[in-house]
Symmetry: C2
Subunit: 227 residues, 2 copies
DNA sequence: ACAAAAGTGTTGAGAGTACACCCATGC
DNA sequence: GCATGGGTGTACTCTCAACACTTTTGT
């Protein structure tokens, strides 16, 4: 058995999304070593023999960003033989949603250099990372439409306008304010609840703050193909 | 890099579903070697250094069943350190839908013994295969509700009653005949088309045969969480 | 003749979508 | 006082879901 495994290395790659400055951003690191030295890449690293693959993803995330309590989901395993010029490397990709409040301003010191980039303006990436990132983005948009993962990108307390804006940024389309609010406030079972607090300071009336309910059912029943 | 990889082996496990005898069945093989010697398991094997992970899954499928042209989809990667008592083995699980016509009556000669089992009556399984199978079944049901993968389990030409029965078996609920047919026949863009042929021989009127359109959009737009 | 399966429409309820104005507050 | 943003209701359309009978054919 051991000799069959000898030539395959296992890594994790962690695509980290956050909302900032009105755009959806992802963290990239500049590679300090060959191959692709100096190219931007998705943060990641080797899975250690004694840790689960999920744990490896969380460890890499923490090392790169200091983030711990986040939404993390396994995305896909990429296993083409030639995807890494060094040899046979199979990677398990994950994606992470970092809330605005958590999102570390700077990356950790593991990487030579790190940068948050808007997903609309990405540099050339190392390995097959461009297609991995494209896949992650597709999945994020998809999930956002029929589950409540969007809340993971917001601080614990948020106004309805902030929530709507987050959805609009990610989906790339505008939504109707009244319909949006009605759907959210009249959902049964409820999805969000009032905190009783208000956001003030901005121009205009104060805005009610809400929080996501822990017991919320985070999924809409999909429209079925057949009745 | 090599030493980090040394102790991790990579396998594929392939959950194969088919419809037969009015039930949803999956193929299990009896293990000839320790560990779990004599226990039933999901078919699978090691990924070779020169093949992609997808290719390994297709190769294992072919070796176990002789099947080639099937619907194959990557399911999830299971990477707990202790899931295999021999050492560190990470497995990439796939699921396959075998059409009625294709489904090999017997498994290949790679395994000591193989058996199609209804998913409602499974024996104890080796490793963490019970939970992998449960996950595969959940995903199959889920996909079936909002995509057209169900056609992959049927022969190329089928009657609407056969299609409806297939859905009822997998979902475990009965569907309304008129609503089912209307949705399917009036879908725009169309999903199926008439072959012009009929199924005869059974008691009752002859039944129109249909085929799945290659250009069909296999997905319903999910009901969105927000308008 | 009888049992089994194929095929075919209508209606009522609920969800989805489009749309515009007033008021509070900071500057 | 004016620009910005918060908050609110209604009417129309469309999709969904429930429901029963007639006809054909094999035995």
């Amino acid at each position: 058995m051991a000799d069959l495994a000898l030539n395959i290395a296992l890594t994790v790659d962690v695509i980290i999304f956050r909302l900032r400055e009105g755009e959806l951003q992802t963290l990239l690191i500049k590679r300090g070593l060959a191959p692709y030295k100096g190219r931007w890449a998705i943060p990641g690293g080797f899975v250690r023999p004694d840790e689960s693959v999920d744990a490896a993803a969380r460890r890499e995330l923490f090392e790169e960003t200091g983030l711990k309590e986040v939404y993390l989901e396994q995305l896909y395993t990429f296993g083409e033989p030639k995807r890494d010029p060094r040899g046979r490397v199979v990677t398990v990709a994950y994606f992470v949603l970092a809330a605005i409040a958590q999102a570390a301003p700077q990356a950790g010191d593991d990487a030579a250099e790190a940068q948050w980039r808007p997903i609309t303006d990405l540099p050339p990436l190392a390995f097959d990372h461009a297609s991995i990132l494209a896949y992650a983005l597709k999945r994020l948009r998809y999930k956002l439409e029929y589950t409540a993962v969007g809340f993971e990108l917001l601080p614990e307390e948020f106004t309805l306008t902030e929530l709507q804006t987050a959805y609009e940024i990610i989906l790339g389309e505008t939504l109707d304010k009244r319909n949006f609010r009605r759907r959210l406030l009249e959902a049964d079972p409820p999805i969000i609840e009032e905190t009783g607090k208000y956001r003030t300071g901005q121009v205009g009336p104060r805005a009610q703050l809400y929080r996501y309910r822990d017991d919320a059912v985070a999924e809409v029943r999909a429209r079925r193909l057949f009745p």
